[in-house]
Symmetry: C2
Subunit: 494 residues, 2 copies
């Protein structure tokens, strides 16, 4: 039976994914520094095995034959998602993938070196090479999927997301934010004039902060029997659903950045830990995509973790672990700080979308050939001046060189961040419609209603629906900017 053959294949692929996920997390947390070369070699080899097994020529026949077998509704959904996965994996010739992988790795290595030096001139030719290959890639994916080139790139990260749907939503948000950012900054300045920002500095030993982090993780629903918290240079959520590895990094002079990092990664982890276990080896049982995943991390970090109600519960917990008895009025100005800046990853939730929308606009032009890499510094500077009133013309390292995504060949990924933020706000709004007392529950340290809602609507659905379908079913409506706008107005506008 062909469905069974696919099931066996999925189990083999899951074992390789398991190895790659744990080896990857281990590399960033526990590996000896000198183990890197052999680790890279082993992971490349295992990735090759995965790719060869996942793209073996007989699989297309199995998929077709399985489609004619008597399948349950769930099996049919599993097959549908497998086919989507398989199409995305096989629509590029192996020769092209190798050429592109080499160009991406070379450009990424160069980027690490040249970004530090702010050397755009030496970087430009390498990025041009990557962009040329991405245009080829997009054309091939578009042909195979019957989509426009940019949509075909996004399809890898968020099945069903289309520029035609996203562009008007982003346009509405951008228009709002260009007015709102100066207003929010003015109001912040007024508040601080009345009540100066109280520093939260002190000495917070790593083990105390770790204890606080674990307490918060557990409280918001992280299953500590199926996951752990470690330290790494950049925070991440990795591992496998049965053993989710999240990390943070600590500074002993302040606790908020490590804790917010933990809450963010815990949001990713809750999604992974609550996926449908019976289908864990099939694409159906995996997280839907990058935008939904980001909506889960931002739900915990922004909707819950920066909610004043949350801090009514959290402050005594912080006091218990760190021995600091702050008030809501002390902490909220830090948690809700707004600041114009050049760097996306340092941005707050008000300014962050403007960084993303700029990249979304520029990368569409790059893929379509309407913009060339040589003109990127000017275009970036114009966009930043328009959105945030900041220039990057004499500072390319903090302009178009700041992210790893483009040198790494990831085009169509950036929108996920802001789509995730908007989706999180829309999910929150739907949750509060169903449970108007959510703030009170959270203030009481009770996250069960919130998590039950999310488990039913999002986590348990795995990859059963496309990204827009999942949002529609979870919240009762299409993606709509007004929820995120209302959220920002409520938190930063009064």
């Amino acid at each position: 039976m062909s469905f069974q053959k696919l099931d066996d294949l999925c189990r083999r692929l899951e074992a390789l994914e398991h190895a790659l996920a744990i080896l990857g997390a281990d590399e960033a947390t526990h590996m000896a520094v000198g183990g890197g070369d052999k680790r890279a070699e082993a992971m490349a080899m295992l990735s090759g095995m995965y790719h060869r097994q996942a793209t073996a020529p007989e699989i297309a026949d199995w998929i077709d034959a399985a489609g004619k077998e008597a399948l349950s509704e769930e099996q049919a959904a599993a097959l549908r998602e497998f086919r989507r996965h398989h199409t995305n994996l096989t629509c590029l010739p192996a020769e092209f993938v190798e050429r592109q992988t080499a160009a991406r790795l070379r450009c990424e290595q160069l980027w690490r070196d040249l970004r530090a030096k702010g050397d755009w001139t030496s970087f430009q030719p390498a990025l041009e090479g990557v962009v040329a290959l991405v245009r080829e890639e997009a054309a091939m994916r578009a042909e195979a999927l019957g989509l426009s080139p940019y949509d075909a790139l996004m399809e890898q990260y968020d099945p069903g997301n289309r520029a035609a749907d996203i562009t008007p939503v982003f346009a509405e948000l951008k228009t709002f934010l260009k007015d709102f950012v100066p207003q929010a900054l003015d109001m912040q300045a007024e508040r601080r004039a009345k009540r100066p920002l109280k520093p939260l500095s002190g000495t917070y030993p790593v083990d105390r902060q770790r204890g606080l982090g674990l307490a918060m993780m557990e409280a918001v629903g992280f299953d500590l029997t199926r996951g752990s918290l470690s330290v790494s240079h950049h925070p991440f959520c990795g591992g496998v659903p049965s053993d989710v590895r999240i990390t943070t990094r600590y500074r002993t002079t302040e606790f908020l950045s490590a804790l917010m990092g933990i809450l963010h990664e815990t949001g990713h982890a809750l999604y992974e830990q609550n996926l449908p276990q019976d289908w864990s080896h099939w694409p159906l049982g995996k997280a839907r995509g990058m935008a939904i995943h980001e909506s889960q991390s931002l739900f915990v970090e922004k909707q819950i973790g920066r909610n004043p109600a949350f801090w009514r519960w959290a402050l005594p917990v912080v006091d218990r672990h760190l021995g600091e008895n702050w008030s809501l009025d002390d902490i909220l100005p830090h948690v809700h700080q707004v600041e114009r800046g050049l760097i996306r990853v340092d941005a707050d939730e008000v300014t962050y979308p403007l960084h993303v929308i700029l990249r979304y606009e520029l990368e569409q032009d790059l893929v379509a050939g309407r913009l060339e890499v040589a003109d990127l510094p000017d275009a970036w500077d114009a966009g930043m001046r328009d959105c945030l009133g900041l220039s990057t013309l004499d500072n390319p390292a903090d302009g178009p060189m700041q992210d790893v995504h483009w040198p790494g060949g990831a085009f169509g990924y950036f929108p996920s961040y802001t789509l995730g933020a908007m989706m999180a706000a829309q999910q929150w709004a739907a949750l509060v419609r169903d449970h108007p007392d959510t703030d009170d529950s959270i203030a009481g340290g009770d996250f069960s209603t919130v998590n039950d809602w999310r488990r039913t609507r999002i986590w348990s659905q795995g990859s059963r629906w496309s990204t827009p379908e999942l949002m529609q079913r979870a919240t009762g409506e299409k993606l709509d900017a007004r929820h995120f706008i209302a959220h920002l107005q409520k938190r930063y506008g009064s």
Copy 2:
């Protein structure tokens, strides 16, 4: 070119070994408890991939064809070891391996439960099943290798080891020890009557003990850029040569057991870290076998780590980390403690060989069919009374049920422990012949001469020679019990 095909195959196999080694070490150190089922599934699947790739039908042809190619002396050695490895791996039919694996796993699981209950009666039938399969296995291996059945089993662990060579050496050692153990115990009692044993108890926080362990590891040659120290329930040395994972466990009331565990595992680690890197993917580049590996761990733990000269250097290091200013006369009676006991893993270096020789004798009889499992408790009891004057008749859990080896189907492995101890003593004797001032170097904290000697003679040789050949070349003579006997007499007889 067929040699190149084998080289490519070895690289793929190395990647799978890398994954299995790191996943195995991770399971015992960092995995979340709930991650066990999926981890077991993934590792079984990866082991299956390894086995399928390593036993693919075309490989035999590649080996034959490579033998006709123009090979360097090193390539010829690599091919020879590959052939040996391949023969050992393919001489059992897949159907038999599956049947045996299932019986072993079942018997091991049963053993964990029944050993705790001391229930020999329920355990006996499961062990009988395993022994029946081991007899079949030994017959098939013997046929394929042209060896006697027991030698064919040992060949998996220590190529070239033969019962005809080992039996007289063990007999000499057993005769010596049956007299020597009571003498050593009498002398210990006399010494303690004159100077009572001073307890080394205190409060030693884990991080202090860990700091001491790391300092000792580094001093004796462990490369901390290519390995690390963690905690696990049972100490082990795992990982890969570029990233060797050793572990220990700590008790805060005393420091010696954790430290001795660290020194033992460091001995294994030094071997792994100093294998020939260019051949790391071929059997040639791997450690020779279990007896040689144990000789390396026991060299560091017993020949160095329990040497009074070592403690002249180590005591100030202990003081620096633990703040305890003991004298040689305080510490040596603990380091050299001798005690008759029922349990092999708790035994000291004087009594340990008697435990092993008993198992060596019994397992040969079991494999040959001269002894049946039903008669094992009586035979064990008789052996223990003869060697150590202790009875196990009413206590099978501390008799023939104490080890995991036989339930796990590992017959022919036990001699490695005592062979390792004898080899370590013989290596030490050869080293001291070449460098008579070795004790002084060690007392000065200088381990470079010791390690250079071992690197040249043992570590860099990988699997180039059979176990007896390696010993002959490293020490200039065949395995000879007199070195170990002289070592025990010097340390425990005066």
